[in-house]
Structure formats: C-alpha cells, structure tokens
C-alpha cells in the first residue's frame, strides 16, 4: 500500500513537472524543474525500498534501519536542487532584462502589449 502511494506520488510529481517545464513562460519552467527534482529525489529514495522503519542512525539496537545510501544521495541532491532552482530563476530574470519578455524563446507578448508587430524571433 505504501509502495503504491509512493509510486503514485512520484508519477504525479513527474507529470506535473513535465507539464510545467513545457510551458512557454520562464517562471512555470523554474517551478517545473523544482517539481521534477522532488520526483527524482523520491524516486532515488524509493530505490532503497520502504521496508526500514528506523532512520539509519545507529543508536539503540540493531536492525530495521532504512537504507542510508539513497538518503545520502538525495541529501546532496536537495541542496543541489536548490542551487539549480535559484540559478534558473536568476537566468529567468536576466533573460527578461535582456529580451524584455519572459517567454522562454524570447518571443514578444502580442496580447499583453496589444502590439502585434513586435513579435521577435
């Protein structure tokens, strides 16, 4: 049951992440990368299975510890994920300053400015 929940959540997160990454504005893409990061982290964690009921901290008794390897991998991945999110957010800001739009391809807004002729490349 737990497995099913975990698998389903990873799926939903991945799907939402993909959907957001494919949007045409920069901010949703940043959020999408974030969600994909969560999905990946949970997926990697799932590789250690969910049978362990105790954290991998060796205090008081043997056995029943969760797999520490994926946890170590995911821990750094969370921090790197932050770096990634922050960097793409900064890129988005910079791109807007340079191109004047937050479209991922630098296309000018047609409706927002009411000016159809400004469509760039």
């Amino acid at each position: 049951m737990m497995s099913l929940l975990l698998a389903g959540t990873v799926g939903v997160l991945a799907a939402c992440g993909v959907w957001l990454v494919l949007r045409s504005r920069t901010f949703p893409v940043v959020l999408g990368i974030m969600l994909l990061g969560y999905a990946a982290n949970l997926l990697v964690l799932a590789m250690g299975r969910v049978s362990g009921t105790r954290p991998p901290v060796l205090v008081g008794g043997e056995g029943g510890h969760a797999d520490p390897v994926p946890q170590a991998l995911v821990l750094t991945a969370i921090v790197i994920g932050f770096g990634m999110t922050a960097f793409t957010a900064v890129l988005a800001i910079r791109a807007r300053v340079e191109s004047g739009t937050d479209h991922v391809d630098g296309l000018q807004d047609m409706v927002a400015d009411g000016d159809d002729s400004r469509e760039g490349t």
Partner: protein, 960 residues
C-alpha cells in the same frame, strides 16, 4: 633513464619557461627556447655510445593499467636517430626564427608552440607503448595546428591551411588509434617490445588486414602520401621556420618513422608490399611532377617533400633490410637538405620580399653566400654526387632494380625511379635558377643578417660531409638504427661514394642529363600539361566535401534545434519516453518474487494525497505565478513530511530548510518577472495550435508520469540485491559506519567520509551556481515594471524587526548544535549551513540587507570560498600523511557539558560543507535582494546615498 626524462621534460618545461623569459625580450626568449633543445641534443649525444651498441633505454610508470596504457618510454637507435634530427633541426630553427620573425613579434608564443611540438615529436620517437605513441601523435597534430595557424589573425590561408592539416592528420590519427587497438589485440599487448616480437602472430591474425589498413591510413596522412598529400602545400602558410621544422625533419617524418618502427610487426606480406610500395611510388611521381609547376618557392619545396616522402615510403614498402637502411638514410638526408632549402627560401622571401619564382632572378648577385648554400642543398636534393642526397638516391635506384614486382611488371620500379630522378633534377634546377638567370630582380634584395645563415651553413656542411665520408659520419648510427628498425642484424651495405660504373650510377647520369633537358624545355611541358591533364585537385575536392558537410550539419541541426525551448524539451522527453517504453517492452515483465511493502496508515495517505493535489494545483495554475509558487511550496513541505514517513530525518530537515530559502528566492525572482502571464500559448494566437501544444504536453506529462510511477512501483516490488532487509551496500555502510567512520549517523558518515569526494564535488557545484547567479545579476538594471511596482509603506516594521533580532543568536546556536551532533544524530554540515543562512535571511527580511550587513559584516563570497577551500584542504591534508585524498582521521574529544565530540578531519570537512552551503545560499539571496542597487556587499560599506531603512523593493513587497 635521465636521458629519457630530459627528452620529454626539457622541451615541455621549456615551453612554459619561454613564455616567462619572453618578458625580458626576444633574446631571452630565444635563449630559453634554445636551451631545452640543446639539453636534449647533449643528452642524446651522451647516450650515443650505449645506444649505438644496442642498448635500449627504458622508463616505465603505470598510467592507466586497466587499458594497457603505460607511461612507457623506450629509446633505441632508430628513436635516437630521429631524436637527434628533431632536437638538432629544432635548435637551428630556434636560431633561424629569431631573425626570421618580425622584430615586433615577442617570440614567446612561437617558441612555446615550437617546443611543445618538439616534445610531442620526441614523445613519438621514444614511446614504448603504442597507445602512448598515439597520444603523442595526436599532440603533434594539435601543436602543428597552432604553428601553421600562427599568422591566422592576418591571413585567411593560414586558417585554411591549419584547418586542412588538422582535419587530415587528426583524422589519420583516429584511424591510427583504431589500427593500434586492433594491433594490440592481435599482438597480445600494447607494449612496443611485445608488438615487435609478435610479428608472426600479427601477420597470421585475422585482424592483420584491418589493422594494417588503419595504421597505414594514419602513416600516409601524416607523411602526406597521395591522395592525402594536399594538406602539406596548404600548410605552407605557416611561418617559414615552422615549415622548415615541421615539413622537413619532423611532422611529416612521423608517418615514415611509424612505418619503420612497425616494420617487424607488419611488413613482409604481399599486402604490405602492394599498399606501402604502391602508395610510395604514386606519391613519388605525383609529388615530383606537381613540383614542376609551382611558382612559389615554398610550394615547390612542399611538393618535392611529398615526392621524397613517397620515395622513403616506397623503400619501406620493398621490405628488404637494405631498403630499410636506404629509407632511414634518406630520412636523415632529406631532413638536412630540405630544412636548409626551406630556410633559404625563407631568406629569399625575407630579403627580396617575394617567393614567386617568376619575379625573382639573379639573386646570386645580391646574396652570393646564400646562393651558394642554396645551390649545394638543391644539388643534394637533385642527387648530385659528393652530396648526401646522391648516396641515398643511389641506394634507392639500386633497390628499385632489386625490387619485387608482379610478374612481367618488374620494370615499373626502376622506370618510376628514373622518371622521378629526371623530374627531381628539373625542379631542383628551377629552384636554383632564381639565383642566376640574368639581371637581379628585385633590386632591393640583399644578404640576410650574419647569424640567420648559420643554421643553413651547418646543415649544408652536413650535406657535404655526409656526402663525402658517409661511413665515418652517419655510418654507425645508420647501421644501428636499421638493426633496431628490423629487430635483426643490419645487412651489410657499403656506404661508399664510388661503387664502380654500375647501373644505378648510369641511372643517376641519365637523370641529371634528362632533368636539365626537361628544365630547358619546360615551357613546352607546361603547354602540354595544360592541354592534356585535367584540372583535378584533391584540395578542391576536400574543400567541397568540407563545405557540403558543414551545410548538411547545419540543416540537420536546424531541423532538431528550432530555437524553441519547449519544442526541444518535448523532443528530448519524447525520446526518453520512447527509450523507456522500448526497454519495458523488450526486457520488462512480472517482478521476480514480488514483495509486499509495509501497509500505509491514515497519516501517510493524507500526506501523499495532499502532496499530489498540491502538485496538480501548481501545474494547473501555471499562468498565475504567485498561486503556482504557493502550491509548489506546499509540495515541498509535504515532501519533507514524506521524508519523515520514510525514516529519513536528515532529508526532512534539509528539505524543510531548503524549502524556506527556495521560496524566498522564488518570491524575489517573481518580483522581477511579470505578475500576470498572458494566456498559455500565444505563439500564433490560434486556438487550434494551442490545443495541439497542450495535447502534446499532456501526452508527454502523462507518459513520463506513468513511466516514473511504474518504475518506482516495479523497484519497490522487487527484493533488494542479496536478499536481506537492505541491500548489501547499505548493510556494509551500516556495519562499517561506526568502526571506520566513527559516527552513528550513517548518512552523515557517508557524506563526509565514505563518499567525501562526491560531497566535495557537490559543494563545488553549489558554489559555481551561486557565483554564476551572482555574476548574472551583477550591475543588472531591473526590468519591466519592477521598480515602479507599489511597495509596502513600511518595509521593515519595527515590531517584527525587534521580535526577530533576538532570535538570531538562538538560531545560530541551534545551527551549531545540529552541526556538532551531525556525525552521530540527524544534523550535519548541510543542515547547519542552511539553518544559519535561514537565520540570516530572516534578519534581511525584517531589518533589511543593508542594516544587517552593516552590523554583521558578512561577506557571503568569502564564506563560500573558505568553505570549499577548507573542505578541499582537509582532503589534501591526508596526502601529507601519505594517504589517498580525503582519507579521514578520527578521534573523540571530550568537551564538558556537550560530551564526546568527534574531532578529526571529517569534522573540518563537514565544517567546510557548512560554510560553503551557508555562503552559497546567502550570496544568492543577497544578490537577488539587491537587484538594481549598485552596491557591493563585499565592501561591507552601505551605499551612502541610499538611506538604509527606505530602500525600495524588499521581499515582503513582492507579492503585491
């Protein structure tokens, strides 16, 4: 041993030294460049007695043992002879270049490239491992590329020449690599001794033919054999000193050196005779013929070089011991006379202003001394008796008469040799005639500086000395080199000038006479050539194929990369999906002995359900950035809770803190992005198009989501590797964490100890991201409506500020606590660094960045750098104790009231992690918060013109 070290290291270190020495002027640069060449020469001469007696110098160090690649150096007489050429001519070229290159040229770059090339060349001749040889082979391609392109800034031809040379010889190097790999397979090793001793085995191996083909491709491209010759004339755009070096004594000789080197392993089959002998003969004739038509002095020399390389290749193709000796002899001779001719051509160019033979005449009047030298060298090229070229050409004629030939075609060899002889005399005459033939033209020509002639004088002296007393000079070296090339006793060859009035001498006389006749009637020949020989040129063919490849590549790229991020991402994701589906379809199936996981309680179900709902909400609200951000942060918080449910307290802590700073960063970012996203896909304003795009994205999202879920589900239903409750790997870490790492928090021990190198890499990545972000934001003006957007009237409410300030010490103390206990209980460097950053960030929020930094003087960049350096230094510390990088040292220190605290290298390492994370997070937050305010946090002085408390955009104001 020492000899080998000097051989490689002297020019390599010299290349660096020259760059430094060039600061003190051209003279210093020349001295610094000459010294390593001289050192190599002296070392080689000192080693000569032993090597000529059959000693082989060896030096070996394992490099990539798993690939059979050793740093194995091996110098026998063949390598020695080439090494002498490389170092000797190199030394002369250094002197020559000092005068040749314009005074405005600092020479540092030229000499550095020259020495780098010399080192690569010496590497080739002293490699004791075939893979190592390929490495040096490619290095010669690279360094010669830069030498040929030396004047690329001013001359298009230099760029084209360098590119062509690199494409051809580099491509050949690739073929050689393939050939060497097959050869090693066939011989049972890459060590040169092994390969040379396994000739029988190699020739009988089914890999022989492919290996031979590829090796020959490598050798032929390097040694400019037809039809790969065209790079050599194109490379004449190089400065003449480089041409004299690369295209007489070194680069082009690498190919024939390889053929001589691998002679015992590859020669002796019909395939060898036909391929090598045939290619050599074609090149011999083609080069000589083409040389006749050149008007450029260097062009003539280039084609003549091609022809002579053909001669050497043809000799090697004969496969007999005497032919190999003749080939080695001619390699030496050609290097001496061709280098001096190139230098003479350079002097003519330099002092007369042109290399076009149609505009040069009677130069002997203006430069008699240079003319004499050039005439003697050209005589050697033409094979005039008493000069060294005569001797090896005589041997070539003799060999061609002995040569094996198919059936009734034995006359082909001698006929080709004779025809070549005639043509070589004709083009040599043409070269010489620029010094005679009427009045001086141009009138401004004059002798070069005294010492510019010295290299030519030395080389020409060699031509004469070797040509008159061969057995007293090169004799012993030649015999020793032939012996080592054959890996068998050298055959007896009489190195005398006079062998009686025999057939080869007749051929020489006919060639001399015929050549002069041909030169006299050259006009008629030119006309015939124009009428009958079609204008076919491999150069043009090559240029065309390069053009068409470029066009095709551009078209291919344009179809894949349309400039639309969404479309590219969609293609990428679709391919991923297809690959996953393919694997699932072919290798999937029911899980082996499915295991049932633990059941779920109500709390878990709620957490997972809310998590999924929030994610969907974030996706649904993508057009409303703020709403989507709120939903996404809910996702993050629930992920933290999920980590708790999955028994991962460290992850939960980290996730929680990261979530805080992420939301801060994204809120700040949102302030500088449009608050309102126009309807989803505006591209063409067409509803149908929008729907199509949305459908595509939905399919991709659904597919990838389903795939990820299926993958997770499948893994969770499988037992772990090894069958225990946790995997073998996990069991290892759980078992060894305490005894080997000295900590009970296994996750932390893995991070700072077992896999410390990964962690070091990761904080470095984080540092790069932070610095990159900071640089991107440097001096950036805020875009759009961000500056005008309304802000909260009270940016820093006093009550909030007053309440937050006392929390700072507590938060920092908690951070320290989590850090100290991190090795044994949840916590550690990552968590501590994040918490400290959050503590600081809350001060920024409530009191303003200026207010805070003014009082705390925190330079995020310095913390970041300190952290990364500390972690790296801790790792390097292990090296001092002769342990591998990042070996940990551990012990417990008992501190009153806190208890046993791990004191050891991992503690310092984790501290580095904490500082790096703290610095990185803070740096990004600061820079985002300060957009549009020209102020350097590092200076720690608040901007005087901005009243600290009224500074405009702040985080809280963002969501208006």
């Amino acid at each position: 041993m020492l000899t080998l070290l000097i051989l490689l290291l002297a020019p390599l270190l010299g290349a660096v030294g020259v760059l430094i020495a060039a600061r003190w002027g051209r003279g210093a640069a020349a001295l610094a460049a000459g010294a390593p060449a001289l050192a190599v020469l002296v070392a080689l001469v000192a080693a000569a007695p032993g090597i000529l007696d059959g000693e082989v110098l060896r030096l070996r160090a394992a490099w990539v043992p798993a690939l059979g690649l050793d740093m194995a150096l091996r110098l026998d007489a063949l390598g020695w002879l080439f090494g002498m050429l490389v170092a000797g001519v190199g030394l002369l070229v250094v002197l020559y270049a000092y005068y040749y290159l314009p005074a405005s040229d600092g020479l540092g770059r030229f000499y550095a490239l020259l020495l780098a090339f010399m080192a690569s060349m010496l590497g080739i001749v002293s490699s004791g491992n075939l893979l190592l040889l390929v490495v040096f082979w490619e290095l010669t391609s690279v360094s010669s590329f830069f030498l040929i392109a030396y004047w690329a800034r001013g001359e298009v031809s230099a760029r084209i020449g360098a590119r062509t040379a690199f494409a051809v010889t580099g491509g050949g190097g690739l073929a050689l690599l393939g050939g060497v790999l097959l050869l090693g397979q066939a011989a049972g090793g890459f060590d040169l001794d092994v390969v040379l001793g396994a000739g029988e085995r190699i020739r009988e191996s089914p890999l022989y033919l492919p290996a031979l083909t590829l090796v020959l491709l490598g050798a032929f491209t390097k040694s400019a054999q037809w039809p790969f010759h065209f790079w050599l004339p194109a490379a004449m755009a190089a400065p003449t000193p480089a041409s004299a070096y690369l295209h007489s004594a070194t680069m082009v000789k690498a190919g024939v050196f390889l053929l001589a080197r691998l002679h015992p392993a590859l020669a002796g089959t019909d395939a060898w005779v036909i391929a090598v002998g045939g290619a050599g003969m074609l090149t011999l004739l083609f080069g000589a013929y083409a040389a006749l038509w050149q008007h450029d002095l260097k062009g003539l020399l280039a084609y003549s070089t091609i022809s002579h390389l053909g001669l050497i290749t043809m000799l090697l193709g004969f496969g007999t011991g005497t032919a190999v000796m003749a080939a080695v002899f001619h390699i030496v001779n050609h290097a001496t006379f061709k280098a001096s001719l190139f230098m003479a051509a350079g002097i003519v160019d330099h002092e007369a202003g042109t290399r076009d033979m149609r505009r040069l005449n009677g130069l002997a009047r203006a430069m008699p001394w240079t003319a004499t030298l050039a005439v003697v060298a050209a005589g050697a090229m033409a094979g005039v008796p008493l000069l060294n070229g005569f001797l090896s050409k005589e041997m070539f004629f003799a060999e061609s008469l002995e040569a094996p030939g198919p059936g009734g075609l034995r006359w082909i060899g001698p006929a080709a040799a004779l025809l070549y002889g005639v043509m070589s005399v004709a083009y040599s005459a043409r070269f010489v005639m620029v010094f005679f033939n009427g009045a001086l033209m141009p009138a401004t020509a004059h002798e070069p500086p005294r010492f510019m002639r010295v290299p030519i004088e030395l080389l020409v002296a060699l031509c004469v000395i070797v040509g008159t007393i061969p057995s007293l000079t090169v004799g012993p070296a030649l015999i020793a080199a032939t012996r080592d090339a054959l890996q068998a006793p050298a055959p007896y060859v009489s190195l005398a000038i006079w062998h009686g009035f025999n057939l080869p001498l007749m051929m020489t006389l006919v060639a001399l006479a015929g050549g002069i006749v041909m030169y006299r009637h050259r006009e008629r020949l030119y006309r015939m050539h124009d009428r009958h020989v079609p204008g076919f040129s491999t150069t043009i063919l090559f240029a065309r194929s390069v053009k068409s490849m470029e066009r095709r590549a551009a078209r291919f790229t344009a179809t894949l990369e349309t400039g639309s991020l969404s479309r590219s991402t969609a293609v990428l994701l679709a391919v991923t999906l297809a690959m996953g589906a393919l694997v699932l379809a072919t290798r999937g199936g029911a899980p082996v002995s499915p295991v049932t996981g633990p059941g779920a309680d109500a709390a878990s179900i709620v957490i997972w359900a809310l998590l999924a709902t929030a994610a969907v909400a974030a996706a649904r609200w993508h057009a409303h950035p703020l709403r989507a951000l709120v939903a996404a942060s809910v996702v993050g918080l629930f992920v933290a809770l999920a980590f708790v449910r999955l028994s991962a307290p460290d992850l939960a802590l980290t996730q929680l803190l990261v979530e805080v700073v992420t939301i801060l960063v994204l809120l700040l970012a949102l302030h500088h992005l449009p608050q309102r996203t126009p309807g989803a896909e505006q591209r063409h304003g067409q509803r149908a198009w929008q729907r199509l795009v949305a459908a595509r994205d939905l399919v991709l999202a659904g597919g990838i989501g389903a795939g990820a879920a299926a993958l997770t589900w499948a893994v969770l239903r499988r037992p772990v590797h090894g069958g225990g409750p946790v995997s073998e790997l996990a069991a290892y870490y759980l078992r060894e964490s305490k005894p080997k790492g000295g900590g009970t928090n296994v996750v932390n021990v893995i991070l700072v100890d077992f896999r410390g190198f990964d962690t070091l890499g990761e904080i470095t990545v984080l540092a790069c991201a932070a610095i990159g972000a900071a640089v991107l934001l440097e001096r950036m003006k805020p875009a759009g409506d961000a500056p005008e957007r309304p802000h909260a009237p009270d940016a820093h409410p006093p009550v909030l500020a007053a309440l937050t300030r006392p929390f700072l010490p507590f938060a920092l103390m908690l951070s320290a606590f989590l850090f100290l206990r991190g090795h044994d209980l949840p916590g550690g460097g990552f968590v501590a660094g994040l918490l400290a950053a959050v503590a600081l960030a809350s001060q920024y929020l409530t009191s303003g960045i200026e207010w805070t930094t003014e009082r705390l003087r925190i330079d995020a960049r310095r913390w970041l750098a300190t952290g990364v350096l500390l972690a790296a230094a801790t790792g390097a510390g292990a090296l001092l104790f002769d342990r591998p990088f990042l070996t940990s040292f551990y012990d417990y220190a008992h501190i009153p009231a806190i208890g046993a605290v791990g004191a050891g290298s991992t503690f310092l390492f984790d501290l580095g992690v904490a500082l790096a994370v703290f610095g990185a997070v803070l740096l990004m937050l600061e820079r985002l918060g300060l957009i549009g305010r020209m102020r350097d946090i590092g200076a720690a002085t608040p901007a005087a013109e901005v009243p600290a408390d009224e500074v405009a955009p702040d985080v809280r104001a963002v969501d208006r």
